[in-house]
Amino acid sequence: MKRFAVITLFAMALATVFSTGDSKAATSLTGAGSTWVYPLVAKWSAEYQKLTGTEINYQSIGSGGGIAQIKAGTVAFGASDMPLKPEDLKAAGLIQFPTAVAGAAMGYNIPGVKPGELILSGPVVADIYLGKIKKWNDPALTKLNPDLKLPDMAITVVHRSDGSGTTFTFTDYLCKVSPEWKEKIGENTSVAWPTGVGGKGSEGVASYVQRIPGSIGYVEYAYLLETHEAYSRMINSDGKVVSPSLKGFQDAAGHVDFTKAQDFYVILTDKPGPETWPISGCTWQILRKNAPKETNMEVMKFFDWGFEHGQNMAESIAFGPLPPSTVQAIKNYWKTELGYGL
């Protein structure tokens, strides 16, 4: 009997130790969503934790997942590269604000073709992903790359298997450059891909492209920088051949005015300009209006810190910081939408 009592007391003590959670000195928040923004949030949160002790636990499960989780209220913030339309935000009681500007590039694995040598155009990429162009030495490709020796190899298309804002940005671009794509497939975080292999997250796509000879995949640029994979140049809407770069993304952003867009709903693909990168995009954070005030305040503090102090970190992985006018507009937006702000 005595032993039983001792064990029960011990178990209760253990239980109290383990379930304290938020009563520790450090606060901890969970966010989830876009793999596009994961490198940035990961860098920022590691630094933020050192400075303030607050832990921002970010799960990169894809924009679709981020949207689902924040709607369900299971996370403090959801990250998505597909902006929600103002009517959807209102209906679900959510608000969204942009974080940074970046771009997706086409990674490839073609034996004998070095990084940056391959040139692609929007319509050609659409045809590859539609399954109409099946081999690397197809005339459409050799026309764009007269100096390259493209092998007689099957193209393995790699796309995302999970719900992804990168997919949204990519398919939005394809809709703009290919009427057939727009009609048959459309744009969203997850589409009915006519062909190809599905990788989980941008990491998964980059990983498959690394492994499968003859493959091509769309990946957020920061991942390609990390893994030193080959990525192609593209012909932008001005007809110029451009490489993905921070300047290319920021040039695209220069053509939109965040402060005038309702709920910051902007699209950055296929913008004009001599050095603009065609597959540029933004990434947003989504908050619940009726989440506890402390939670939303912590999230706002974190991103505000990122806007003020995290710009160098962002630029080092080719994430373009938002202009100061946009940051101010975001802060005003918080105040007006939530009723409280920083």
């Binding site: 178990a11 130790v17 383990f18 379930s19 304290t20 959670g21 901890s28 969970t30 994961y38 490198p39 990961a42 860098k43 949160s45 590691a46 934790q49 832990e55 636990n57 970010y58 799960q59 369900a72 209220g73 299971t74 996370v75 990788g199 989980k200 997250g201 990491e203 998964g204 980059a206 990983s207 690394q210 920061a222 991942y223 990390e226 893994t227 994979e229 992985i317």
Partner: protein, 282 residues
């Protein structure tokens, strides 16, 4: 007559070669898998794995501490939930139900649950813990793992208790002990090696299970011992890291796989050793 004999002989020799080849194939794949796990796993081992937490992508750091601790917490909690239920269930079968129709029905159902796909149990735990509470948690993960472990413990407890000689029980009853004392102080004690074997086999089964944790405990890049929120764990970390293009993450995935395999092997060996100590009735 001779030709029939010769044909039968040829068939026999050929079939023996094929059987040998089949066995060789099985053993070959085993060695291949174990060898690659050892090779990549050991080369991915670092002291940092045990002292630092999982690093963000793009750095060259190593660390798995939060995943180790998280997995141990999940295993411990599963034991706390699963062992009592399994032990009592097996005890009921052996000591109260015997071979009644109800007891045999329970054994049948239990055997079906033994081979339940772990993803099914994961969905179940999602439906009864995550969906109502509204968030992922270590607790939900442990529930899923416990449900996977219980059928094994029920079955081994049932079998091991049945092996205990009747004279021990009768001696205890003759001394005036009530039923529950007989069971706990005599029968359980006599069968403790076998029951422990069942627990160890159950533990080995749930170590490395990933699918149920994907919908319940999720993952956590920071160190956390909070039971009511997502917690880091080895299998989901392996899943995430293996599918990534980062070299250090892939190395850590192999190291984690290596440690998981070693853990399961040690558990199995210890279980087998205990099984050897089980007293079989004469």
């Amino acid at each position: 007559m001779r030709s029939v004999l010769a044909r039968r002989h040829v068939v026999d020799v050929v079939s023996k070669i094929l059987m040998g080849a089949a066995t060789a194939i099985g053993v070959f794949f085993l060695f291949w898998i174990i060898w690659t796990t050892l090779h990549f796993g050991i080369s991915g081992m670092h002291w940092d794995l045990f002292t630092k937490d999982t690093p963000p992508p793009g750095t060259n750091a190593f660390g798995l501490r939060n995943a180790f601790v998280g997995s141990l917490i999940l295993l411990a909690l599963s034991l706390i939930i699963g062992v009592p239920v399994g032990l009592m269930g097996g005890t009921w079968l052996a000591e109260y139900g015997f071979h009644s129709r109800t007891a045999n029905a329970v054994r049948f159902i239990n055997d079906i649950m033994l081979s339940a796909p772990s993803i099914e149990i994961g969905l179940f735990a999602y439906a009864i813990v995550v969906a109502p509470t509204g968030h992922f948690s270590a607790f939900a993960g442990s529930v899923a793992l416990a449900v996977l472990m219980i059928p094994i413990i029920v079955r081994t407890t049932d079998e091991m208790l049945s092996l205990v000689a009747g004279d021990m029980r009768e001696a205890a009853i003759a001394l005036g002990a009530p039923t529950w004392v007989v069971i706990t102080k005599v029968t359980w004690k006599a069968a403790r090696a076998g029951i422990l074997t069942g627990v160890l086999i159950g533990l080995a089964r749930i170590t490395g299970e990933t699918a149920p944790l994907l919908f319940t405990a999720l993952n956590n890049q920071f160190f956390s011992a909070d039971l009511f929120h997502p917690i880091a764990n080895l299998p989901v970390v392996i899943f995430q890291f293996a599918l990534s293009p980062y070299a250090n993450w892939q190395q850590m995935a192999w190291a984690a796989a290596f440690i998981t395999v070693m853990f399961v092997l040690v558990l199995s060996l210890v279980a087998r050793w205990f099984l050897g100590k089980v007293q079989v009735p004469k």
